[in-house]
Symmetry: D2
Subunit: 342 residues, 4 copies
């Protein structure tokens, strides 16, 4: 049986990535694509790399007959998403890729995003979409909140260590390097090729990046007490890929065992042999996350590094993985393609 899906906000990178992935899915059909400002255009006009596909034209959301839709991906901007979802049928399965439903505490939402949430009652039913850790909840969920791409990467590196009480919770430093597609298709000066290529810099330094809201929520919940990590993202001259370098204090061998054990049966989370370094080169375009652990020369210190593709495992691949669970499909359907290298 084929499931009909809609993608709202299909003119952005995560929308295009969803189309690319769903094209490989055995049981999913793209029944509607919306992009308000580009309604009426064909997908080939907006994304010429998809011109070989037989896709519905872009439309306005109100033109979609949701009674024919089994699941809806929302790839809309933050704040827009909550308003749109408020207007959708209350029994429609939704995977939201925005930040709007990630934080369970309305006060935390307001603190990080600056506004009151417009759809609080819906927010209550949202399940946090980090598949490997919320699998059962996601299976039964109506609304799944895709995680931040940085937040996913950092959590893959750290959750099992916090859960097992293996590291000093007050000394976690997460130095993260993110490729430019994480910033979306927006026209900003610092995203121009001439400004971005051939150099790199940190941004949102000092604990101001919004994905910290997710780290705080999740790590504190696991630990059973408030946990704050130090998190500094850097913008890299590359299109895809997040590398999270986590500096932790604990026994490197036990840290490795905890990660290797936790992810032993995970199809997408690959723990490398002890001491090996993951690279974003080796996950590009795929749903895999590579994780490496190394002991530092200073006793009781370890470096845990996680690499994934921000557009795939970091957002659209995760979204499809969650949709598979919600629709009773094989979790890996459409997602096992190998990375593109070089």
């Amino acid at each position: 049986m084929t499931h009909n899906v809609a993608i709202l906000g299909a003119s952005g990178y995560t929308g295009a990535e969803l189309v690319r992935l769903i094209a490989e899915h055995p049981n999913m059909t793209i029944a509607a694509l919306s992009a308000d400002r580009k309604a009426g255009q064909s997908m080939a006009e907006v994304f010429p790399h998809l011109r070989h596909m037989d896709l519905p034209d872009l439309c306005k959301i109100e033109e979609i007959d949701f009674s024919q839709i089994d699941l809806c991906f929302c790839a809309l901007p933050h704040k827009t998403s909550q308003q749109v979802i408020l207007g959708l049928p209350r029994d429609l399965k939704i995977v939201d890729l925005s930040a709007d439903f990630r934080l369970r505490d309305p006060a935390a939402y307001k603190a990080w995003y600056g506004n009151d949430h417009a759809a609080l009652e819906i927010q209550q039913e949202a399940v946090y979409g980090l598949t490997e850790f919320y699998r059962d909840d996601i299976r039964g969920a109506r609304l799944v909140a895709g995680t931040g791409c940085n937040a996913a990467t950092g959590q893959f590196a750290l959750r099992p260590l916090i859960a097992a009480g293996l590291i000093d919770l007050d000394q976690i430093i997460l130095d993260l390097k993110c490729a430019v597609s994480g910033a979306g298709r927006s026209l900003k000066e610092n995203l121009l090729h001439a400004e971005l290529s051939e150099g790199y810099n940190a941004y949102a330094i000092g604990g101001t990046h919004r994905h910290l809201g997710e780290f705080d929520q999740e790590f504190s919940a696991i630990a059973g007490r408030p946990v704050q990590v130090q998190f500094t993202p850097h913008l890299m001259p590359a299109n895809r890929g997040i590398l999270a370098t986590a500096y932790v204090q604990g026994d490197p061998g036990r840290i490795y065992d905890a990660l290797a054990g936790a992810y032993l049966k995970e199809p997408f989370l690959q723990v490398l042999p002890f001491g090996e370094a993951p690279s974003t080169h080796h996950v590009r375009g795929s749903n895999f996350c590579h994780i490496g652990v190394t002991a530092d020369r200073i006793e009781g210190r370890a470096i845990v590094i996680a690499a994934l593709d921000n557009l795939t495992k970091g957002s659209s691949g995760q979204a499809l993985q969650n949709a598979n669970l919600m629709l009773g499909e094989e979790e890996t359907a459409g997602l096992m393609m190998a990375p593109l290298f070089p």
Copy 2:
């Protein structure tokens, strides 16, 4: 029924690309991978991006039991390939990705490659592997010679025009831009990131590039008289992609119609609306070739531009497309994945 295939020379980029593509094929199993100097290593050691796959370890060619192999891809260097194939069973189906069997005339081979051919009798049975133009021959072939990646791109732009007598055969100029993976995984100074990125240059200027042997052979055969094009390749700071800009003299409208007509039913050759420009961005990682035609302001002149991914449609994708025909599979099997963008 699953076909067992072997890949000889699996430690190069075309070898890795074959593995990536075959992984998506419904009826093909990788039964053996050879790489003489890296025999004994796992594929994950040589290409960490393939670490999630269950693949045979790299071995020496002589360790392969070819009686269990339905088809063999040879991704070996030029000259090595002819010697190896000489030693393989004479009834083994082979797709060769090297230059060794592309030129039918031994004198032409010697002129372009500088040595006598070591496997002349096998050369006689080889079919030139430009799928869309040799489809029927390929179906029945035992040995198919994959084309040069530049040669394929230029031919997609020009063959129908030469065949239809639409352009001046003495005034064809092919200015081609090729990404660096076309040069393989070889350790050359000019392929270092520090030497190559952020700049570009022509090479093999003046008609010395070996792919001209293929252009001469094919275009002359179509035209029924000697045809020589002017061909200048340029090395681009990108990993994948060939853009061939062909300057031709003839009626732009008829030129467009000839190309659009010739490729109307081709799944991989996409002719863009008249006047639109193809881009290598829009074919990356895919088996598609985008072709555009524009009229110049000078009457009777047209520009025909073709874009493809050198590792996919230009070599490994083409190889799989040919293997599909040779094995009685759907020609497009394992090859319809969308390009990776961005």
Copy 3:
């Protein structure tokens, strides 16, 4: 004696490049920098790479006391430039980097730019700023029109050949590759890193690029009869550099001699040994132009390739070279720095 100069439109790339170059000039002081929308900001805010310099803050044009200015660089957008220059003192020496004063024929200007020229009488006194060919006129000029960066590159490759009657004027093809800074600091989707890096494409195909107005004007004037070249620019994933590949019909040896002879004493135009290929890598950040000539395998055909940095020799370096002449300075002052490699 130090000359006081002003730069109007200092917040763009050519403005910043002028500042970088003038900083090395022994006898030039930057007395004023304008940028209407960023007036009041420091240059360090707009271009942090200049933060070590002691520069005037950005101001509005009307705040500049032009009686204290010896020469004014206008790095303003097209159309804006002619209006601004109309309002400047009529005896102020000006080097304009826009397209507004390049075309001598008002009809040609209107044909290429789509509007009537707003400052026709000033246009008449403008000298075309291709230094090596208009040196004497520039020395005595009040207003010099900087050339298009593509136009400069193509002319360096072709002018001596047309002047000497060495090539077929009806068979000139110019396939040009330009880096992204040529498009300026404008917020366009195709200039984003995610859209531009790792791929390339032609644009303004078919003879629609405005720099053709300059080629037509200059080549026709040299030849004494109308000359139209075929010109196709391509956008490259690099920040600086133009490579012009010119396909011409004529004797390669005589072509080489004509170029080598013409540029023998030129400090910035370097003709490479016959058969060598120039590269944009080797001129980055410098005022040099490298030129190479190769014979094609087809008799009577040659390929002439010119490489320069679009922001330096293609615009701001040329502008400073012209300013030096206008101010009685050494032509090379501030311009002899070596390229940056890698």
Copy 4:
């Protein structure tokens, strides 16, 4: 008076960078260039971007008449350098860019480099070449050991803080991002464009990078007790630039004041306003180092980030700065050029 200098090992990136910089120096002449394996070639053959310069051909070291040389730059590989310097006149002023004379303790040298030092008595007279901190010693030195490029960047971020006792010495984490030219012009697979571009990874994880020898030596000397930092370098897809992100525990305001105070009069060390982020984009090709300090949301934590060009301030620029001091020249001579942006 002009000083005659020689550059040994001129065929590498630091050699070429020295030539580029010295070309702008008012009082320095390049009298000899050596490159053993390329002896007899012109510099233009090895580095075409220098073809406009009038330079001596590459020669063997033994062909140089050192009696005519006022100062010698050694840009040779590690281990080779100490052997060569052992054979040079004992009164020749030398700036060595290799690692051979950086570590004062022979045991530390052996521990990090794996071999006994071959020129111990010369090592004793070497002065560590971090100009801003060893200025007086360098002025009188005969042999100056250029620092590691990573080591310089980290020290600019941290030395004043350690000296002032402002940070917890046991909790210093240095996450460093380095461009590829830091690895030199060596033919290694991971330095190929196809392997390096569009991705990034850590290397020498866990405290195994040799520049740690310098950090240990210098930080311990300043602190008066052993100090070990955690240091993880990452390889970036860019040609030039190091960004060092230092995580320290101490009062952010006092940390900022200490850095701003220490570097107030330093021409090349630019401390940005509190909270601003430096970028490698803004120092490319220059001798400047930009330093930024931000307070973390966690009290008592600060992030100190330093950015410089590894080939300029990180090696050849530093070398020239030291040579200026040794020769009684203005320290900034030949080094004040603005960065190249974009």
